[in-house]
Symmetry: C2
Subunit: 646 residues, 2 copies
């Protein structure tokens, strides 16, 4: 039965917990024992007798005997097979062995077992870890199998080893980073969507940066060995703080936990052996599954997990969507879009604070009856007008507001709002594109919210350059400046989904669901308003150099997450750059700039990235490329995949 009922988690696969079992001739009994007595949701069980070797069968019987499957497909119902059994492929197989007989036996067995699992419509099969660093033949065989599968998932078991641990490949003395092994394997299999990872969690854990890489990978299960557990004062199993955090990470990424191994509780209770322990337990415990207490602890962690913050609940609805950026100059926004943005109260609080400070700076207390001319350019359905009026009221300053809006549909609402709110005489509505408006007077303060997720990507610079004509020489622009940021991310799960080289995703989801950040963000382009530079060019070019933290190990860069931070006025800022992000704001998702070919980074190498903001006569676009460690192609040449129309 599921680990618990938790709001927002009804659909997450991480509610289900499995158990790894040894081979059993009687799988019906095995299932009943673990599901009914143990309360596990599924069993990871071998499908074939581990003593089976095709070459022995052939030698003994000429190849005519029956394969040693654990009974026929009739011993369980179809729904039992598909809902409660994960097939565990024989652990002895080694397709990269020097021993040709073992290699051939392994290939035959792997193909037979997966074909049987496919026949049973199992949801997944667990493939044993590669036995050596070189696993090309194993990958070749799995890749061939993947071409002919139904919906079954193949989980490749990968140990979550410390990079500085002794290598699996003991003979060579070389250190093996298990992530690199997985990376080779899945590249060989062309990022096939039915190939994923089952992480083997052991008692020693790699560094946080090294662990982080796995959250950008397609991990489906985490197998926790009972060896990993500690024993609390009462003799019950528990986990270290670091392991607890890891398990919560798994829950957040829809990764199912599987408990593996034998119960250690008997040896942990001092002075007890198997028999005495049995007799000292009460009658209920006698009937208990030996791993039940481990499951209970996992369930306890699941319940103890922090509930989703409101912002993430909002974003849940967007989890499966890749969104295209807006074209605010070419298209008119719809009512629903205005509705969504206007609900973002935190944003308007920041604007109100910025306007208040600007009004106080502009008009000293002794001249409080001077009227300040404030223009809201891109007024939409009026939220910035309202914030400005509230700022005036709060500071006791007089203002006259021009609300300039190019969308005639929004202007309809603005007019009714003026009547409804009694703003007549204070607010003048101008139905016009700010770039072409012939203003009757000049403004003291220009207020706008034209920012996109990447700051300038909704053409705020071009719009405000146009509006600057009617701002006084010493006038104030709110925002006064904004800066875009990027950081390299690994996002295997998204990699195959990206049809367009440009989309938004939530900046929180980019961390929790899809990707792992590999290095801190760095600033890219900055724009200041009013723009007093001589050239007035809004083209930009920036070269950036990212270093991965030393303890990350190798990593794959699939692209760049993009953010912005805006200075509204003096110390009042607004933004989604993770280290300084305005809390509880949901108007902006992070932007993603993918790489057509992911770049593999070795420890100690650095990533050189070039970003351009290009301006044409009718459009603005970005181009980007990676120049080191290996040069890559230019992206979005002449804005061919994504551009914003002027």
């Amino acid at each position: 039965m599921p680990l618990g009922d938790k709001p927002g988690w009804e659909k997450s696969e991480s509610r289900y917990c499995g158990v790894e079992a040894e081979f059993d001739d009687d799988i019906a009994n095995l299932l009943s024992f673990n599901l009914n007595l143990g309360a596990f949701d599924f069993v990871v069980a071998p499908l074939m007798n581990p003593t089976y070797r095709p070459s022995l069968v052939q030698a003994n019987s000429g190849g005519t005997c029956v394969l040693p499957f654990a009974g026929s497909d009739l011993v369980l119902s179809p729904s039992q097979w598909s809902s409660h059994v994960v097939g565990k492929i024989s652990h002895w197989i080694d397709l990269d062995s020097e021993d040709e007989t073992l290699r051939m036996d392994s290939e035959t067995t792997l193909k037979q077992e997966i074909a049987w699992a496919n026949h049973l419509s199992l949801q997944a099969c667990l493939l044993p870890s590669p036995k050596s660093k070189s696993c090309a033949n194993y990958a070749r065989c799995v890749n061939q199998i993947l071409q002919g599968l139904n919906n079954i998932q193949l989980w490749l078991r990968i140990p979550l080893t410390k990079i500085d641990d002794a290598s699996m490949d003991a003979n060579s003395g070389e250190l093996v980073d298990s992530w690199e092994q997985w990376n080779s394997f899945r590249i060989l299999c062309e990022h096939h969507s039915q190939l994923s990872v089952a992480l083997d969690v052991l008692s020693s854990l790699p560094s946080v940066h090294s662990l982080g890489r796995w959250f950008g990978e397609s991990v489906r299960a985490a197998i926790i060995s009972t060896d990993t557990f500690l024993t609390n004062a009462r003799g019950y199993p528990c986990l270290s703080k670091r392991h607890q955090n890891l398990i919560w990470g798994f829950f957040n990424h829809s990764i199912q936990v599987v408990v593996s191994g034998t119960s250690l509780r008997n040896t942990a209770a001092p002075g007890s052996d198997l028999v005495t322990n049995h007799s000292s337990d009460n009658v209920e415990n006698l009937q208990k599954h030996p791993l039940r207490s481990y499951l209970d602890y996992i369930g306890y962690l699941f319940q103890k997990m922090d509930p989703l913050p409101q912002q993430e609940r909002y974003e849940l609805g967007y989890r499966d969507f890749l969104q295209s950026p807006l074209q605010p100059l070419m298209d008119n926004l719809e009512a629903q879009t205005y509705e969504t943005f206007e609900k973002d109260s935190m944003k308007y609080m920041q604007y109100q604070r910025a306007v208040s400070k600007a009004l106080l700076d502009r008009v000293p207390n002794e001249e409080a009856n001077v009227t300040t001319v404030l223009m809201v350019v891109g007024a939409g359905r009026g939220p910035l007008v309202r914030a400005s009026l509230q700022a005036a009221e709060e500071t006791g300053r007089k203002i006259k507001v021009y609300a300039v809006e190019k969308n005639p549909n929004a202007v309809v609402t603005l007019h009714s709002l003026v009547k409804l709110e009694g703003w007549e005489g204070i607010v003048t509505i101008i139905s016009c594109d700010m770039r072409y408006w012939d203003a009757p007077e000049k403004a003291d303060i220009l207020v706008s919210e034209l920012l996109g997720s990447f700051g300038d990507n909704e053409l705020s610079p071009e719009c405000l350059d146009g509006a600057q004509r009617f701002l006084k020489e010493d006038g104030i622009s709110i925002p006064s400046s904004y800066t875009s940021f990027i950081q390299p991310v690994t996002a295997s799960k998204l990699y195959n989904d990206v049809s367009s080289p440009f989309f938004f995703l939530s900046h929180t989801l980019s961390v929790f669901m899809f990707s792992a950040r590999l290095a801190p963000p760095q600033s890219v382009f900055e724009f200041t308003h009013p723009n007093n530079s001589t050239t007035k060019s809004n083209e930009r070019y920036k070269k950036l150099l990212f270093e991965l933290p030393d303890d990350t190990g190798s990593a794959m860069v699939h692209g760049f997450a993009g953010y912005f931070d805006a200075v509204l006025y003096k110390d009042v800022h607004l933004g989604i750059e993770p280290s300084t992000a305005t809390p509880n704001m949901f108007s902006w998702f992070a932007i993603f700039f993918p790489l057509r070919t992911p770049v593999c980074m070795k420890p100690g190498s650095s990533l050189e990235v070039h970003f351009w903001r290009c301006c044409g006569s009718s459009k603005v676009w970005y181009e980007w490329c990676v120049a080191a460690p290996t040069p890559g192609a230019m992206h979005n040449t002449n804005g061919r995949s994504y551009w914003v129309g002027l």
Copy 2:
């Protein structure tokens, strides 16, 4: 006028020689001087005054003045522009400068000049060398320009420097391999087909391995500085042996030579200065172009070049074709194909030698009247039957020949041949697939020519395993074994042309025209006949490790050239593996196994490659992958792109 008339070279672009010129206001005069007086075929000339800077023009005139082009488009006829002028882009441009004004001026100028060249329908423009190792902004701009061009080629000037020379990037003290710079540039430009290289040849040359890489690149011109020339005893310019070989390499790869610089002959003639030299020359020489003697020397090298061997003349007809491998079991060969193969006399001489040796071994002189049963399987239109009969005659042995052929059309010819040649009573024709023939007796010798370019790729192993039933226990198979070989090659020019991941090309052309070999070939799969192994499996798996020679520098591996070598009988072999290739044989082209993503190899790194021969119930195919230095995808999974039907 062209360098000379040479059979086979009528269509090669390397017949034309150009000259690099300084800026001249009067381009009509410049052209006439160099073409009429100098006898050059084209001029590489600047199109714009080198003092022009867009920022100065803007500052001085508000941007309204005329651009300083070298006159209007009317000063030359359209055909003069397009046939005789290569536009030389201003050498001062530096798009990766730290100086923003210079960077912007450079971008504006580059775009203006190429637009002008495009307007004039020039065939090519020469782009100046990147000024620093980092050239991302230069590449970004060129890449944008490439999207909107007509047919004009852009030649990026790249110095052919020694890797161990002092770097261009003097400040960093880092060594720059100019090939790496080109590699980054063209990757950034997505291997655009209109971007190519103009190599700047200087007096010191890199190693042979380092030079070799350029012959796999899209090099269109080689600019030879007059500094590079030596002076012979008579005071005329000449080149070192290494430079002569390089120039011949250029001719063979359709690379045009451009002479650059000032005549050094005056200073070379001791005791002469400009005036005395002039007066000491005869009247004809007074009228001579200062670089005429350099052109004459290039023409002399062109004439002196070895004529094409017969084999390459044969292959000329195939230069522009990528051929698909044969499907000899599924399809019947056509008469034309038989005709081509039968002309390959060298092949049948080797077969005759092998059969002779086998007959002598099989039948001692004292038993010379014993009849040997010889079966030709896959007899086609009879060339192996003829070679076998000639071997019998030559050795004085008696033979009885069964000619087994599955193609009924070829059998028609065989029957008429038996009558024509008087082979009645000696040769029995069997119209049957050798795998299913029910032979009336067993053979002493089985002769076949079922080999493909990669040895086993036309399913010789499967066919001969089938035919083995009617070979005596101690019988002989000719061939007795064969081995396939691969070697990594760089082949940029082909890279964009490969639509299918499999094709043939001539093994000589693979060297001279399209690609450069990066490391010696290594053996892959071996098959022996008769096949006495217990498993009889024809599946194979081989892991190979290639090391690049130390003095190569970095290189790009685009795929693998494949060859075979076959032991017909004892010391008689037949094959196309370059180091042991049978001379003057043209039945087999080399095979090419491309990589979907080329692999960049740094000096000192090694290339780990895995090759599989996979067998299904109805087909045989190869899979391959690169595992190091960076893992790549599996190729041809389940034979999806190429397979051979059983």
